[in-house]
């Protein structure tokens, strides 16, 4: 479905066309569900975010003025709900200041030749858990940018609109997130090389 088709459905949904709204739900729900899953890592929580998001969209679609893309608007609502839930569950405890110290000396970990490490041998549950833990340790401002830009494949411009921050801020936060995750990965790879 291209943008003009989405806009047409949005326009019809605003007039109360339930079939049009159903088509929007059918088209976007899986992406919203996966966004929730990436942020919260729990299928039940992702389903809750999906419901809250579309309930809000249903109630607020009249106020959607079309200045932004519908998808951007929808994703902004979903991202806010997901991070609100994360904060409510007190799963995010790291602060920006905690992150600063991680960058004082970014090359503490010896980085082996990654090409020489058989990645297929590493792709087990423990490895995935370590990756999840690394993302969990990112403060929200970095995690949101990393998830939207690198996992959801949004452009820098789209990410800035969804999070309502400047493109420069997206780039700075993305850089920090990527370098932090690289260090965490390097640490794990270093342990893997020693053990094998």
């Amino acid at each position: 479905m291209d943008n003009s088709q989405v806009n047409k459905l949005v326009s019809e949904a605003k007039k109360g066309d339930q079939v049009a709204f159903t088509q929007l739900v059918e088209f976007f729900s899986e992406r919203v569900y996966n966004l929730g899953l990436r942020i919260l890592k729990n299928p039940d929580d992702a389903a809750d975010v999906l419901q809250e998001t579309f309930l809000a969209v249903y109630e607020k679609i009249d106020s959607f003025d079309g200045r932004s893309n519908f998808f951007t608007w929808l994703y902004r609502i979903a991202t806010n709900f997901a991070f609100m839930k994360l904060r409510k569950d007190k799963r995010t405890v790291y602060t920006d200041q905690d992150m600063e110290s991680q960058f004082d000396n970014p090359d503490q970990v010896q980085i082996h030749e990654w090409q020489d490490i058989p990645l297929q041998d590493m792709l087990n549950d423990e490895f995935r858990k370590r990756l999840d833990d690394a993302v969990d340790q990112l403060p929200e401002i970095y995690r949101s940018v990393f998830i939207l830009r690198d996992l959801e494949n949004m452009s820098i411009k789209e990410t800035s609109k969804i999070l309502d921050i400047t493109e420069s801020n997206v780039k700075i936060r993305l850089k920090r997130a990527r370098l932090y995750l690289r260090e965490q990965l390097a640490q794990y790879m270093s342990e893997f090389v020693k053990e094998n």
Binding site: T22, Q51, Y58, K175
Partner: protein, 77 residues
């Protein structure tokens, strides 16, 4: 990367916050291509993103989740 100037590292770090295949700075990329240390640094960041993408792929949404959503919204399939 001790042998590199702070300016160069800052530029490389700025690049690392861009789209990784975007040719932001020809001079910098020329240097990166000539410098194994910088190339390795850049490659490992690209690899990090790639590994995270591969391990966080989209999952199909369970049918009951969509059914519940439509029911909550009082919509028909």
């Amino acid at each position: 990367m001790e042998k590199h100037s702070k300016k160069l590292i800052d530029e490389l770090c700025n690049y690392l916050g861009q789209d990784l295949d975007h040719p932001m700075c020809k001079e910098l990329m020329h240097h990166v291509n000539e410098c194994p240390e910088c190339q390795f640094y850049l490659d490992t960041v690209k690899m990090t993103v790639s590994i995270f993408r591969d391990t966080h792929k989209s999952e199909p949404m369970p049918e009951h989740v969509k059914d519940n959503l439509l029911k909550t919204l009082n919509l028909k399939k």
